[in-house]
């Protein structure tokens, strides 16, 4: 039995689908962010898997994942700053409450 590409991609798909579910259903901003990280992670994993199985000679996928991780870090930092700020101003982090700028 071989560990082929498909083996790694299936958990990635599951991770991604869970991310979507969480992103759409969660009300808490941080929980949404967590779901986002799940999706991001699944994409990262795909890059690496494709790199390894299809282009084993190069390292583009890996480098891309490295960048993605860096960007994810940056993004999370900013997002969390914003979330904290929102919490300060309206007292919770519920997306349904954040509609002052709607329309």
């Amino acid at each position: 039995m071989d560990l082929s590409m498909l083996w790694y991609l299936v958990p990635s798909v599951v991770m991604f689908a869970c991310g979507i579910y969480g992103f759409v259903t969660r009300k808490n901003l941080i929980a949404i962010l967590i779901s986002l990280e799940l999706m991001l992670n699944s994409a990262d994993l795909n890059f690496v898997v494709f790199n390894r199985f299809l282009f084993p000679g190069s390292m583009d996928g890996m480098v891309f994942t490295l960048f993605a991780i860096a960007i994810a870090a940056a993004e999370t930092a900013i997002a969390i700053a914003i979330i904290i700020n929102i919490y300060r101003s309206i007292g919770n982090t519920d997306v349904t409450e954040i509609n002052k700028m709607k329309f």
Partner: protein, 647 residues
């Protein structure tokens, strides 16, 4: 002929209008009055010179082999519609225009002079003179028109001058509505005139009177036998043109504006609504006479309208209280007389008639004499109103002792209009009746009856004003004769009314320029004289001394009297049509339609757009989650579709 004089005749009044209209505010009343009178006086003198030159100089341009010619002094292009259809502004001299020059300038000068006394101290005195000058200019331009379009231009201008002068006392709502009515009714008639011109000029390809009248057969031929709704196009055109004349000359059913026009100052009524402007319709028919002659239907139409109007106005005049209204209806009746006279005339010999164009000559003659004595009557009425400050004869009575000059001149006017020898009206009326009898006995008999009615209502008024019984108010406010500025015109016009009948009019004015020797038709003259005298006697019996006879007569048929007094409800009918139907239903309906249908449709487009926007803006909720939801749904859908397509 040198063109300076004709140009000056038109230029002086319009200059006066501009000077008095623009600079009048800064002038004193006296200066404005003197300027106006001087200007009109000069114009009158120039017009006399021109007319005299035309009639008596014997110049080959004017009279050739004993036949008077039409002569265009000048004729310059004003506006070119097409290569051939060109509007000119010119100056046409022919017997009727020369005669009208004299009539207009004389009456206008008299009125200018008279107004100096009558309008003294009125605010807007300068404006009044400015408008009078404008009117004189327009009227002169009308009569000397070389082409029908020039006539239409000045036709509109006299309409406006009339509007301005009727509404001179613009603070009175009655004057405002009277002026509005006058303008709109005549404007409506002018619409017919305009359409008539459109039709006529389309076929003849010319506006020029001389071109059309010298070749009426050609005009008829140019229409190529086209018909519309059973009548030939030329008939339509000529009837429509006559409609314009009906409006200006207050023929039924477009007469309703003239009695109301008496809201204007009395001298204005004398000038515009008795002597000059209202005869424009007659003048128009006379001008186009040869063309009318080739369309019998139009001529019959003129006769019928004229005969009905003459009788109607005479009957109504018998039941009026306001002396100016009586005079107004008398004017309508007399103008209708002229119309019938023109209508019975013919340009070719008729069997058994020694001169078929007699009606034309007689109509013009009556136009001339009527202008003089009707102006006289109006000015006399003005003097009366000036004295008692009321228009109604009920405030008058027994005035002959207080106002002798007015009395005598007014009597002259009444005798003249009643057609008593040797006053002017006798001669002209006799010729007219002769012409009518010559055409058909019916017209003659009918119009003789109208002449009798005329004598009756004029003397009814005369007796009620000057005899009857003295009004008790005279003790507080003693009436007296008017100042010299007002008396002078009365005396002058009275004198003219006596002698005008002896003018050899037939030598001067005939339809084709050939002289005609007037001779009294003894049977006709005798009949009309007898009828007139009987009518006067009846009036004297009823109204000379205060008695109960008039009331008895009135009570014999009160409904008739009321109907006549209310002018047979024409005003009410018009009010119903204009206000209830046109204004309330059509105008308001259209305005409603515009706001609630057309505009609402446009608004509905906007509303639909807005509603749709509101409906779909929920998608643009600002919630990242729903965006992602839509995004993923979209992505899945696209992928699935692509996938299915690829397999």
């Amino acid at each position: 002929m040198d063109i300076t004089l004709p140009i000056l005749i038109l230029a002086i009044p319009i200059t006066m209008f501009l000077v008095l209209g623009i600079g009048g505010v800064k002038m004193s009343h006296k200066l404005a009055g003197i300027l106006g009178i001087l200007g009109m006086g000069t114009t009158a003198v120039l017009a006399y010179i021109v007319a005299f030159t035309y009639f008596f100089s014997g110049d080959a341009n004017f009279i050739l082999d004993g036949v008077r010619q039409q002569y265009q002094v000048f004729d310059v292009t004003w506006l070119a519609f097409t290569q051939t259809l060109v509007v000119n502004i010119g100056f046409l001299l022919d017997p009727i225009s020369a005669m009208m020059l004299v009539v207009i300038t004389t009456i206008s000068f008299m009125v200018h002079l008279y107004s100096w006394g009558y309008m003294e101290g009125e605010p807007g005195f300068q404006r009044y003179y400015a408008f009078l000058s404008l009117f004189s200019f327009s009227m002169l331009g009308l009569v000397v028109a070389t082409n029908i379009f020039q006539m239409y231009i000045f036709w509109e201008l006299v309409g406006v001058s009339s509007y301005l002068l009727i509404g001179f006392f613009y603070k009175l709502p009655s004057a405002v509505s009277a002026s509005k009515k006058a303008f709109i009714v005549t404007r409506f008639a002018d619409l017919g005139f305009l359409i008539g011109i459109l039709l006529l000029s389309f076929y003849t390809d010319t506006f020029n009177f001389v071109d059309m009248t010298t070749n009426p057969e050609g005009v008829l031929a140019s229409t190529g036998g086209a018909t519309f709704m059973g009548a030939s196009v030329l008939t339509w055109a000529m009837v429509l043109i006559f409609t314009g004349g009906m409006g200006k000359s207050a023929m039924m059913p477009l007469h309703i504006w003239l009695p109301d026009a008496m809201e204007g100052p009395t001298p204005v009524s004398a000038l515009i609504h008795a002597a000059t402007m209202v005869v424009a319709g007659v003048y128009l028919v006379a001008r186009m006479f040869p063309v009318y002659c080739v369309v019998d239907a139009a001529m019959t139409f003129i006769c019928v309208i004229g005969a009905i109007t003459a009788f109607y106005a005479a009957v109504v005049a018998c039941a009026q209280i306001d002396i100016k209204r009586i005079l107004a209806f008398s004017t309508i009746s007399q103008i209708a007389f002229m119309m019938v006279s023109l209508g019975v005339a013919y340009d070719k010999p008729i069997e058994g008639v020694h001169y078929s164009g007699l009606g034309y000559m007689a109509g013009m003659f009556h136009l001339f004499t009527h202008a003089m004595f009707k102006a006289l009557l109006f000015l006399g009425a003005g003097a009366l109103i000036h004295a008692v400050h009321s228009n109604n004869y009920t405030s008058m009575g027994g005035l002959r002792k207080y106002m002798p000059i007015t009395h005598v001149t007014f009597l002259i006017g009444c005798l003249a209009i009643a057609g008593i020898w040797p006053f002017a009206g006798f001669f002209s009326k006799d010729e007219m009746l002769a012409a009518m009898f010559a055409r058909h006995w019916f017209w003659g008999a009918w119009m003789t009856m109208v002449a009798g009615l005329t004598a009756f209502y004029m003397f009814r008024m005369y007796f009620l004003v000057f005899w009857w019984e003295e009004n008790p108010h005279y003790k507080e406010h003693k009436p007296h004769d008017a100042p010299w500025q007002m008396s002078l015109p009365l005396i002058f016009l009275g004198a003219v009314s006596i002698v005008a009948g002896f003018i050899p009019f037939g030598e001067l004015v005939t339809w084709n320029g050939e002289p005609y020797h007037i001779h009294i038709e003894a049977p006709v003259a005798a009949t009309s004289l007898v009828v007139a005298v009987c009518a006067i006697a009846l009036a004297a019996a009823m109204y000379m001394k205060k008695n109960a006879l008039p009331t008895k007569v009135k009570n014999m048929c009160p409904a008739l009297w009321t109907a006549a007094h209310r002018r047979f409800y024409w005003d009410e009918i018009y009010m119903f049509i204009t206000h209830r139907i046109i204004f309330d239903i059509i105008c308001k309906g259209i305005a409603w339609f515009d706001r609630h249908i057309i505009d609402a449709t446009m608004d509905a487009f906007a509303k639909i757009t807005q509603k749709t926007s509101y409906a779909i803006r929920g998608m643009q909720s600002g919630e990242i989650q729903s965006y992602v939801g839509w995004y993923i749904a979209g992505a899945v859908a696209v992928a699935a579709i692509t996938w299915l397509c690829l397999i």
